[in-house]
């Protein structure tokens, strides 16, 4: 198995799927001649030509909607958003067109499209460029939402997203693109909606996704292990639909849960998981579920502010101690 960076794992998935299916094309800002703002699409223009790797103008609403129309007409667009902050401009087409066209047409049309790009904080970029927005998209019926945290998961899930018959929101992370990990070569597909136990344990369940997995949660688990606390880490990988069975199995084992998400707490996705746990697993809980999340403020540029606002190992360790009544 080759060790690849997250961006190269995505690149492999794109190349393999474009090779496999002529309907697949990639469109976005800087994806072709520039090789992608984050080099995810490196080399694809030379390999697949300018109709399949398309440099779009800075018009997220326009090319987002163009992608939706192309999907309705039988193609398999991958629309790269330079970041999900900019995709807010395209939200009308994602939400009002992509997510609704099958419904509005009474099942006559489908919209197999992938919107992908980096989500969450990028490092010293202030408020407009540091937002984890998965909860917004998870809210809408008609969309699937994926947020992989490792190179292998990124590859396997992007391939599934491209093959899916529905609109898929695929959230990467700027700070993950350089992350290295082992990635299976060739046909490697991970089903949408399946979580992964990234660290088995018996005392407390830590539920997370995307960048928080490697940035904070696994390091926190290591630190806790040193004080004799055996943490189980569940990586949801897919936000919508999320893997209820995997969450339930872990909660039944540990009886204590901490949810870690980069995004804001207020109406954040973690709250939805808590809703499931308290309804379906009430009798399995030995302590209230605690959420560790981005503080409900706009991201600051200052070097000391940025880590304060995001979840940290210290806050996670503190939360784990609380659910253990330590």
């Amino acid at each position: 198995m080759a060790e690849l960076a997250y961006r190269d794992a995505l690149n492999q998935a794109l190349a393999e799927e474009m090779e496999r299916d002529p309907r697949v094309f990639l469109m976005g800002e800087e994806v072709a001649r520039y090789d992608g703002a984050y080099k995810v699409s490196k080399g694809l223009l030379d390999r697949f030509g300018s109709a399949r790797v398309v440099d779009a103008p800075i018009s997220e609403l326009g090319f987002g909607g163009l992608g939706v129309g192309a999907a309705m007409a039988g193609l398999r667009p991958i629309i790269e958003m330079m970041t999900w902050n900019f995709a807010i401009l395209a939200m009308d087409q994602i939400v009002n067109s992509a997510a609704k066209v099958r419904h509005m047409s009474g099942g006559q049309l489908r919209c197999p499209i992938v919107f992908r790009g980096p989500n969450g904080a990028g490092g010293r970029l202030s408020s407009q460029h540091s937002q984890a927005l998965e909860a917004n998209y998870a809210h809408f019926p008609g969309l699937k939402v994926i947020a992989p945290g490792t190179p292998a998961d990124a590859k396997g899930l992007l391939k599934s997203a491209i093959r899916d018959e529905n609109p898929v929101i695929f959230m990467e992370a700027e700070l993950l693109y350089g992350l290295k990990g082992e990635v299976p070569e060739g046909e490697y597909v991970i089903p949408i909606g399946k979580a992964d136990v990234k660290r088995p344990g018996s005392d407390v369940t830590l539920i997370t996704w995307s960048r928080m997995l490697t940035a904070q949660v696994l390091p926190a688990a290591e630190q806790l292990a040193q004080s004799g606390i055996d943490v189980e880490v569940i990586d949801l990988r897919t936000i919508k639909p999320f893997d209820h069975e995997a969450v339930a199995a872990s909660v039944k084992k540990t009886n204590r849960v901490v949810i870690v998400e980069e995004g804001w707490g207020y109406a954040g996705f973690g709250g939805h998981i808590v809703d499931f746990i308290q309804r379906e697993l009430f009798d399995d809980l030995d302590a209230p579920v605690i959420r560790v999340h981005g503080l409900d403020v706009n991201m600051s540029y200052a070097a000391n502010h940025e880590p304060l606002i995001q979840p940290s190992v210290a806050r996670i360790v503190d939360a784990v101690n609380k659910v253990l009544y330590r």
């Binding site: 300018s50 018009s59 939706v68 129309g69 039988g74 087409q93 047409s105 006559q108 019926p141």
Partner: protein
């Protein structure tokens, strides 16, 4: 000038549209139709002129004033009326209603409720046609007020740059809901903005079906030849309010009466009566036939059941292996439904952005 036979077809379809919308208005008054309901009465020459100039394989989409676009393309009037009623036998199983008509069988890709939202979608459909090297024009209609949406600007820029085979038609009826377009537009004649995008901009008397037909014939030929998109502004007028709840007090009675003198159906009738062999009686018979057709459509809708409660759970996400729904097959058991089969294996030959200069074709990429 189109043949008399063609003119009769246009006359028939314009009357069908008029009678259908009148019936829809009545049904709304009887509360059989609720919610929003935007009638096309007065604008029939635009849709019919376009439709007669298109091939059956061309694609059409529009905004929420969408009842007659599928009707003139051959959609079943009863199933359209049933959709207005919110019945299971409607094209969208009663889930879409007035604003969301879809008839993929006849190349009608939808009515959209967000002003201008269909504009980028049409570019995408045209992109798909060009990508697969198909001979097809996508026609996208929208109202004058939609031209002030950013989506239009973003889309025109791309459509021109990539020479997408799409005809954009402004149904210029002078008002965006209750606001005179001139009150909120620096340039209220939309086609005059065309040079800013480098798009070919044209205009036509939208109350003259023959003029619309001939103009669209010419423009679609130009588009089919690979020249790129066109913006056509058809000057028309809606005789009714914006929607059923609009008493249209922002227009004077005089203005409406004057416009009604230019009723496109009466204009075509006059023209037809100047043709050999066309009599008042013959035209009257056509009208009667259309009235009967919409009566039947209403009876069909009246007799149709509501969708089952559990249908709220379908047509959300496509399950693996799930086929698309063919409405006439589902509702009427039709066996002659021609459904678009998009190829899955083909070669993309389009070079969207050829590398022209030696400097640009070098292997060295720009710095990160």
């Amino acid at each position: 000038m189109p043949s008399t036979e063609k003119l009769l077809t246009m006359y028939t379809k314009m009357l069908l549209s008029r009678r259908f919308e009148e019936k829809a208005g009545q049904a709304y008054g009887l509360k059989k139709i609720q919610g929003f309901c935007h009638l096309y009465i007065g604008q029939e020459a635009v849709v019919v002129g376009i439709n007669e100039a298109l091939k059956p394989t061309d694609w059409v989409m529009t905004g929420y004033r969408d009842h007659v676009h599928p009707l003139v393309r051959g959609a079943d009037a009863g199933m359209l009326m049933a959709e207005l009623y919110g019945r299971d036998t409607g094209y969208s199983k009663g889930k879409g209603g007035s604003m969301h008509f879809f008839d993929v069988e006849h190349g009608f890709y939808g009515g959209y409720g967000i002003v201008g939202g269909q504009i980028p979608l049409a570019a995408g459909m045209a992109f798909a046609s060009k990508y697969r090297n198909e001979d097809r024009v996508t026609v996208c209609s929208f109202g004058d007020a939609a031209a002030n949406q950013g989506a239009l600007h973003e889309t025109f820029n791309m459509a021109v740059k990539w020479k997408l085979p799409v005809l954009y038609v402004v149904e210029q009826n002078k008002y965006g809901m209750g606001t005179d377009i001139a009150r909120v537009s620096s340039i209220p004649d939309i086609h005059k903005r065309a040079p800013g995008w480098g798009i070919r901009g044209e205009s036509v008397d939208g109350q003259d079906v023959v003029a619309v037909y001939e103009k669209v014939k010419e423009l679609t030929e130009w588009i089919r030849a690979g020249n790129g998109p066109v913006l056509l502004e058809a000057y028309t007028y809606r005789f009714r309010g914006h929607s059923m709840s609009d008493a249209a007090t922002y227009r004077t009675k005089n203005e409406v009466e004057e416009e009604k003198q230019r009723d496109p159906i009466l204009t075509l009738k006059k023209l037809l009566l100047s043709k050999k062999g066309i009599t008042e009686e013959k035209l009257e018979a056509i009208d009667e036939a259309q009235k009967a057709l919409v009566e039947k459509a209403m009876a069909f809708a009246d007799a149709s059941p509501l969708p089952p409660d559990e249908a709220i759970w379908t047509d959300g996400l496509v399950e693996e292996g799930e086929a698309d729904v063919k409405p006439r097959e589902r509702v009427l058991g039709a066996t002659d439904v021609k459904w678009p089969e998009h190829p899955t294996d083909f070669k993309v030959t389009w070079d969207l952005e050829p590398r022209q200069t030696p400097a640009a074709s070098g292997k060295k990429k720009g710095a990160e």
